[in-house]
Structures are given as structure tokens and as C-alpha cells.
Symmetry: C2
Subunit: 666 residues, 2 copies
Amino acid sequence: MQPIEGNERVVIEGVSPEIDGGLFPAKSIIGDEVTVEADIFADGHEVISAYLLYRRANEAIWTETLMQFLANDRWQGSFTASDLGNYLYIITAWVDQFKTWRQDLKRRVEAKQKDIEINLFIGAGIIREVVKRASGADGKQLSNWAEVLRSNTTSQKDKVKLAMSDELSKLMEKYADRSSAVTYPKKLVISVDRKKAGFSTWYEMFPRSAADKPGRHGTFRDCEARLPYIAEMGFDVLYFPPVHPIGSTNRKGKNNAVITRQGGPGTPWAIGAEEGGHKEINSQLGTLEDFHHLSATAQEYGIEIALDIAFQCSPDHPYVKEHPEWFLWRPDGTVQYSENPPKKYQDIYPLNFETENRQELWEELKSVVLFWVEQGVRIFRVDNPHTKPFRFWEWLISEVKRDYPDAIFLAEAFTRPKIMYRLAKLGFTQSYTYFTWRNTKSELTEYLTELTKTEVKYFFRPNFWPNTPDILHEYLQTGGRPAFMARLVLAATLSSSYGIYGPAFELMENLPREKGSEEYLNSEKYEVKNWDIGRKDNLKDFITRVNRTRRENPTLQSNRNLWFNATDNQNLICYSKHTEDLSNIILVIVNLNPHQKQSGWINVPLAAWGLNSERPCRARDLLNDTIETWQGEWNQMELDPNTCPTRIFRITQDTLRGKAPKTLNN
Amino acid sequence: MQPIEGNERVVIEGVSPEIDGGLFPAKSIIGDEVTVEADIFADGHEVISAYLLYRRANEAIWTETLMQFLANDRWQGSFTASDLGNYLYIITAWVDQFKTWRQDLKRRVEAKQKDIEINLFIGAGIIREVVKRASGADGKQLSNWAEVLRSNTTSQKDKVKLAMSDELSKLMEKYADRSSAVTYPKKLVISVDRKKAGFSTWYEMFPRSAADKPGRHGTFRDCEARLPYIAEMGFDVLYFPPVHPIGSTNRKGKNNAVITRQGGPGTPWAIGAEEGGHKEINSQLGTLEDFHHLSATAQEYGIEIALDIAFQCSPDHPYVKEHPEWFLWRPDGTVQYSENPPKKYQDIYPLNFETENRQELWEELKSVVLFWVEQGVRIFRVDNPHTKPFRFWEWLISEVKRDYPDAIFLAEAFTRPKIMYRLAKLGFTQSYTYFTWRNTKSELTEYLTELTKTEVKYFFRPNFWPNTPDILHEYLQTGGRPAFMARLVLAATLSSSYGIYGPAFELMENLPREKGSEEYLNSEKYEVKNWDIGRKDNLKDFITRVNRTRRENPTLQSNRNLWFNATDNQNLICYSKHTEDLSNIILVIVNLNPHQKQSGWINVPLAAWGLNSERPCRARDLLNDTIETWQGEWNQMELDPNTCPTRIFRITQDTLRGKAPKTLNN
């Protein structure tokens, strides 16, 4: 090993965000500030200059922005993500001779040292080195200043004033000697999505159950009639399970019965029949034209249609005949149907993603997504992505987003944590979560802390679902109306994106197939339902208020700003979110016990919000539109599940005391 | 982007140890088990095979060892670090078709499925694929087994028995299909040091103060006479401040006085005079021959001599004249002396490590270390490494350790945490720490948790010093004898390596230069001292007992096994260490209040130690050699600083209930 060439002495490490050593992009939302931090230091006591450089991935020119020293060798810089797509960022830093000299001189002056002429002379030398690189006027100016520092006729006081002047610093910064600069060796990537990637309110519904009369198969036209109802509640994404032809071989009957009754509709996830596969619409729902009409009308209501991507086939899918090589055939000439023990999907064949013809298969599947993209669909809920190769999704999503950077992919992966995170890293825009099974205060606190306060926040965008067609949690089965209200508010205020499977949710459908099961009794997955949305006990007014609160309070539209507040009652969970400028502070309290009234003391962290904890604050109850005045950092509260198990407050005070520490919001 | 070639589906991530993405080696001790963990997973539900591969850095052949699944996609493998120097390790893993088939078949059999002939037939096909790669006899055996699984005459029961047999598994493992194997792309490094790198007991002393009579300058011969005293106390490293000629220009006087009195000895760190520099011995101490004699005698006492590497020069160092280009000259023809505001070192010139002649300078400095290595020295305490370039040390240490892998470098860097950690990462064997300033229970708990329970444990080996010639902490200034005893036990039992600056320590020297200062009054740095080690109140007997406890209890010889135990008194700190096999369990309690008796309840985590918490345990007090019988997981304790502020117990029980979870010791 030879003594090392060069004089790069700066270390840049601990860069954040940097996902898996730069293997994956971090995520941001258009218009948001991207904050980059790093540990930057060198040996000795000299002063460092550090810059954050960034550019759009498809552009050549880097933009530079000076990084600020925070504390403990940590530095921070930021830029605005003003376009969709990928941005690159790097960091460069060096030991800055001029800034070191300036700081040293400042200390000597402050210590009232008199013998600083030699130091001023040295400074002149540093400036004269820079003159060599400076352009005409700047060079002349710097040259003059160097002469002043060397001059015998200028007073020491004036020389010091010049040395400390902003004008000199500015020019020296412009022509700084970067010959010893160290540049972080990885170009890191941040992927910028549209607003809805970060803030979205989903309503899942089976179009075939949208008919206004029992016994009739619903259509896209029926869905159109349902739009005002959905829009009024405040949802902006309407997600349909697969809308394609359904196979008849081994078609499932009511409650997942293996032998179907004649005329049963089958499950929409058994995709493909003689009439076609993933690019075809089930004729019972209507035509492609009907779909376009529905999409256009939805748009008028501020609603986007999201479709389901379920890459699997019924035994009747055209692929089975046209591309038998895309399936794994057993020695007896059959294809093993899908299994996820103990679940069996006798009506579904998995695709063999590892087939030798996989290039052809993968391209075909891409063409399915692009087909729907061309029909105007930009949001996809992807069914069970964890049972297909990671590299397939990484490839597919990057292919689609290259031309359609507004595309959104929601990963419906209920599997082990590392796999769920991997899918988010490789490109999924949003992800299903464990929220559905996190019901106690400690479970919720621990899980949300992981999602919002660790590296996970940079790549995993949670989408919280209190229920899905597959999951009716015991809490909803047994908790009655208060349980549905509590879970809705938790989902809607803990996570900036959430969804419900309706009308089952707002009609508080709570019967499981059997005790201990999370499946719905008479699940809509296997039959056409007729929902009485006009029922008096429909939760729609409550949902409407909660979703309006989300729209009107920007702090509920992000997650990294979540903080849990102490309470002295394990049944009461309390948390708050606030915007960085503190103009919007929301405090939420939920009684997690749906059966009993609960009361307790709630921490109201006025000082942490930059408010005056000596003065009263105003708490506006956003669900009941009442106003209370609170005094001090603790407030007693009682929540009766029989009236409403939750309250959402907006906190204000006449005069703000100051800003909260910036890192609070990071 | 084209659909990706190949069928590698496994992800390997979160490898541990992996320091800064593999930029730096982790550290281990010869004979120790190196445990490697990683998250390993793929899409789907198939079974994975994973191997840890390792080799010495200078050898070509990898050795493979099967990794075991722990939980939550975490896998673990290990190997023994049997030689000094660097080892490389990687991980390879694949989706294992045979193991998947076997697991699937097992589930079907357990579910009493009858129609498994097709599955047995598929298994035969998998085995026949492997036959193609198997050698003669193995191939024939596998081929036979495949036929059995396909045969019509063998019973299903016998086929299943064969499918599940260890013999089949073993051969299938041997010839496993690795065509889809993923190998972790980084070759990670672990650096293996000798035992003393991890477990060492240091005694620092100024040789010039070793004379037996006041007024005489001590010599190496005097040091020899001191060896029995040091060895009896149980120290195995004897560290000397620089032993080189001391400059006379600007030589410091008593208490760091700028103008020295005539005849003052100066500070040993002002290295270099007309008689020579870093390769010369101060003639007042003796000759190189005397040094050799001392080293040899020390060795007989089980003591190794450690020298100080202080790369800086007095103005009289030969380098200043011979290599003026190695110093930074100011326009007035002077060299700016060293400063570390507010400290001024007028008698010391820093070397300019960034000089254009740095190759020559760096080589010269390397030759200094190699000179002492050739004199038999293998342990170096490096003075202020954080004021020299990181790359210099990285280069120097790797150069020395290439030929002398038994060399040990202790970084004397008292600076910001990230810089201290960087020095450890780039190669320093041991490091000074903040222990000297961590005195309360929460400070100690927080700091030790960082050192022993985070990634830091892989690269940073702490060496705890209750005092140094530069630091007399207020706790020692004011706490009297109990404070010295408490700090000694904390250093000696919290950290496997520790040291004291003596005889100041055992004689409880506690006068600061002035109130608020951490400098000693009449510091030995600036004068020759005469220590009355025969004083009655010398702590040597106590130190002897503590160091014997360290030698006799292997669990005190490592750090990753440290666990804090709850107490109900903030003045009582309690912690324990145990070997992985639970044969050695040590519990330490210290009263941190040197002025008042303290009592409280101490948690004795019998169950976590694999002991029966229903039965009494034996607690042998290793400082007083008494035995107590304790019952249950809480024990009341009283510690009177006036007798002894600390107790060290060895815990045993007649019958062990079982082993603690393996991860406890990781």
C-alpha cells in the first residue's frame, strides 16, 4: 500500500435518505421539500464547506445548494421536488482554508489578541490564491482586498472589518478552492410522485353489487349512479376488484364452496374465460365504452377509478390454451392450482414467472397494464405481489412510470415485514399494512413509530384499511358501531392514505363466516350483494365529516409529522400532527374500548408546538364543531363509545411564541 | 429496460456485521466465534438454502457453512477466527426446489392427504435432475431412490419415509442446484486480533518518576524495580509516555508555565532535541539496551511495554532542520505552534501531513513505528490521532499489521463521537472513550448500551480510564477513596480493557491545578515526581483483588455480554455479564454516591440466566470472599462507601434449568 495521493481529508457518511446503500430510491411528493442530511467531518479543527447537488435524472446540469451545520457533525441541505420522476443528489465537501482562517481570526479578535498582523497577512495570501481563479471584476475586487489586508496604512480595525465582511465571504465562497473536495461516491435517487401518492382516500366496491334492486347483476352504469354517494362522503379513489370475464371451471360458490351452484357469479379474481382475459371487460358489467363513461363521470366528481392487477388465470383464460408454456404442468398433465395453506384456490392457476419464455410472458403482462393506462387508468391495486418475483415488479413499475410518472401502484401484500418493505423499495407507490391487526394502544404506537420515525418513512407509504373483502377483524365483529367509528378515525388520521371496503364498512357488516374466522359470512367475493345504503344507521355522515377534516387540514395529509401524546389510560390513544409552520395543529383522541366509557388525562404539548403553555389555547372539535378553551399541558377528557368514541381537535392560540425545532417535522 | 435474464429470486440484505456498507472491517479476537446474520428471503413460499462462505484474506479457497433460519427472515451462520489477520466472508442463497418439495410433501402427509402419488412422482423428477451432477456412487444411489419414488410396487408409506430421510436430504444438499443462487455482492472483512486486543489491563506511568529517592530522575532500571509492584496488582500492559529526548526551546515549566525554570525536565510530548528524535531514547532514562533489558524482565512478569506514538516535534527536533518542508511556515518565517483552544503548546510544532512531500514524511513516520516494532514493542498508544489525516492512519496501521498482525494501536482521541468511531473503523485496535466523564447511572447506562448493544460493538473496542495525566475528573477530586474504588470497579468490569494512570491513581491523588480544572496540581507532565507507593492507604490490595477477579472470570473479558439490571435507587448501578454457556455469571453493584450509604432492591434475572427462579442461588462475593444465598429475582442490598462502595458477585445454582437464548450473547 503506497501513501495515498491527493489531499482529500473530508469524510461524508450516514447520508439520509439512502435506502439500502443507495440501491433503491427514496420517495417524495411533488412540491415537497427534499431534506438531505449527512455526517460530514475531517481530522483537526478546520472549517468545512459542504454542498448538496441535485438534478432531474434525465437532465445533465447539477444545481448546488449550501448545506447547513446542525450539530454533532450533522449537516443538512434541501431542495424542492418540483417535477414528477426521479431526481439524483450527491454531496460534496472540503476543508475550507478561507473559512478556517476567518474563524481563527474571529477567535483571536474576541480574545483581544493584539499580534494578529501576521494572521491578516496570511489571509491576504489566501485571497491572492483565489484571485487566480476569479473572473475579471471579481478578481480585481479580491485583489484589492488582499492589498488592504497587507497594507501598512489601513488600521487593524478596518482590516478586521473587511476580513469579517459578508462581501468578502460571498466572493470567496464563489471561487472556493475545491481541489481537496470529496464527493460522496453514490448518486442517490429520490422518486417524486404526484400528490395522490401521498394523500388519498379510497373506497373499494364490487361493481356487480351496485344494482339498485336485489337479484340484478350490477353494471358500470349502476356504479355511475353510486358516484354522488361516494363523492359526498369524500372519497377520491374508487377501487374495483377485477372487472374481467370470470372462469367457469371450478368456479367457487357461496362462501367459497368448491362446487358452485348453477348460475353463481364466481370470484372476480378467477380471471379469464372464452370471451377473453385481462384486457377484456366482463360483459355483465358493461362495455369498455361504459367504463370510459364511468371514468369520465367519476372525474367530474373528483374521483379516480383504480383497477385491480391480479396476474393469475382461471383455467379458462385464453393464455392457458395459447401459452401453455406460461404455466407449470405436472407429470399428469394438470396445472397445480394456487394454494396458500390452508387457503385453496381451485379456480385459479398461477403463472410461472420463471418460465423459459419469461421475456414474452413479462412483456404480455406489461401490455396488460399499459392497456388500462391507455384507457386512462393511473391507479392500480396489485393483488398479492409477494407471490411474483421482486425483479418482475421492479422492471414492470419502472417501465410504466418511465412514460407515465403519474402512475400509482398499491401493493396488496399481507406478508412478512421484510417482504412488504422490499416491495415498497423496488417501486410500489403505496402499501397495505398491518394496521388491520393493530388494535391496542401499544400495538398502534409501536407500529406507527416504525412507519413514521425510522428509515421506513422514506420508502414505504402506508395505506390503512380497517376492513377489506378478505379481512373482517374480530374488533369489528364484536365492537359494534363504536368500533367502526374508532377504526375509521384511526385509519384516516394516523395515515394520510386510507380506504374502506364499502358499503360493508359504512353499513357495519360484522358477521364472520364462523367464529375465529376473519372472512365475511356470505362474502361478496363469491356472490352478488345488494346493499341498503339508505339505512338510517349508515355511517356516511360520520365518514363525510372525517374526510372533510382530512381535506381541510393539511397536516393530516402527511405522516412523518405524527407524534404520540401521553395519556394515563391504556384505552385512550392520543396523538397529534402539525405542519412545520405550526399553522395547522391537529390532536386526535380515540377510546379504543368500544364497550365502556373511558376518561383520563391527555398531554397537550403546547410548548413543543411553539405555543405559550402559560396561556389558554383554543380546541375546536372538528367532528362536532364546538370550541373549548384549554389551560396548561394536561387536559382531562371523557369519551363515551355510545355517543362518539373519538374526538378530533384543531388547536390554536392567539399569539404564537415561536417555531418548533425544524427536525420535529423531518 | 429489458425483462431481466436469469432466475435469481433471493434477496440478501441487512448483513451483520457490515461496517459502513463494507467499507471497513469488523473486529474479532483469535479463537472467537464470528457470527454472521442476514435477512434472506424470496417471493412466494418456497424454502431457501443459505450458506456462509469464509476464507483468510490471503488464501484462495472458501469454506462453506450452512446458515440456520432464526425468525422473521433472519438467518445466522458462524465460523471460528483461528488465525490473526483478515478474514473475508460472503453469503450465497437460493430457492431450493428439493427442500420446497419435501416441506410441501410433509404438510400434505400431516394433513392426511391421500392423493400424493403425483407429488412423489414430481420428487423423483427433481432427484433425477440432480443425478446428472452427482458423482458415480452418489449418482447411482440417487438414481435408485428416484426409481423407488416412481415405482408401482413400493408402498406410499415407504416412499414417504424415503422422501423424508436424512440420507436423501444429505445427498441432495451436496449436489443442490445452485443455478439460481444469489451471492451477496460484497466481500466483507473481519480483522482478527490477538487476545490482548480484547482483554487488557493497563498501567500508565512516567519512567522519570520511578526513582526510589526524591530529586533523582528515574531510569528504565528504576522501572524494572517497579515491575513486581505492577505485576502483583495484576496489570499486563505497562504504558510509558514518550521516552525520547525532550526539546529545550520554549520548554514548559511546572504547572505548564510558559517560561521554564532552569533545569526543568519539560514535557515528554515535546519530542526531539539535538541528540535525536522519535527513534532516540532520552539519555536520562537510559539506553536502548536498558530498554531491551526492561522489556525482557517485564515479559517475565507477564507484562508488555506499550509506547507512545506522538507525531509532533519540539522546535529542536532534527526534522525541523533536515526537513523544513514537513512544517507549515508562516510569512514571518515562523512555525505556528500547536493550539487546541484554550490549550497552547508553545513547545510543540505540528507536522504538516498535507505537505507536498507527504510520501516522504509518511514513510519516515512509518519507519518510526517499525523501529520500535523491531525493538520488540507491539502495543502503541497513539497521541491525538484525530489531528492527523484519517487516511494516514488507515495506511500506517495496515502497513504495520500486514507484517505484524499482533500489533495493537490504542487511539487516544478525546473528540467528537463520529471522529472517534471513524478512527476505530479505519484500524485502531482499541480506543479511549468518554467513560472518564460518564459518572451517573443514566450516563453510564446510555453510553455502555451504545458501545455494547449497537453496531459500534463490531468495530470499537473501548479502553476505560478513570484518570489520565490530562484528566482528573471532579468526581475523583471530591469523592475521596470511595470514588476511586467505584471508578476502578466500573472501568474494570464494564470494559474488558481498562487502565489507570499510576501511581497517581492508587495513591488517590486528587488535587486539581485550580477549582474547575481537570488538570492535576503539579502535574507529572511538567515535572519529575516521587511517589510514596509504600503509603498505608495505597489502593493496591483492592486493585489486586479486582484484577484477579477479571482474570479468573472469563465473562469479564468481553463486552457484548453486558446487561444492566434494574434497581430502585438511582445511586445504585447494577449490571451483569455471563458467558454463553452460563458457566460464568458475574453481577456487579456500585454505589455511585461516594458520600452516603445507599440501599435498594436489585434485580437478579435468574430466569434470563437459565437458572431456576423458584430455587435459591449462591452469590459469592469475590472481593470479600464470602458466600450468600439469595432467593428470587429481587434482592435487597446496602452499600456503605466508608467500607466498600461496590460488590462483585459470582452467581451459581446447583442445577441449571437450560440455556439462555443464543442471541443474548451476540
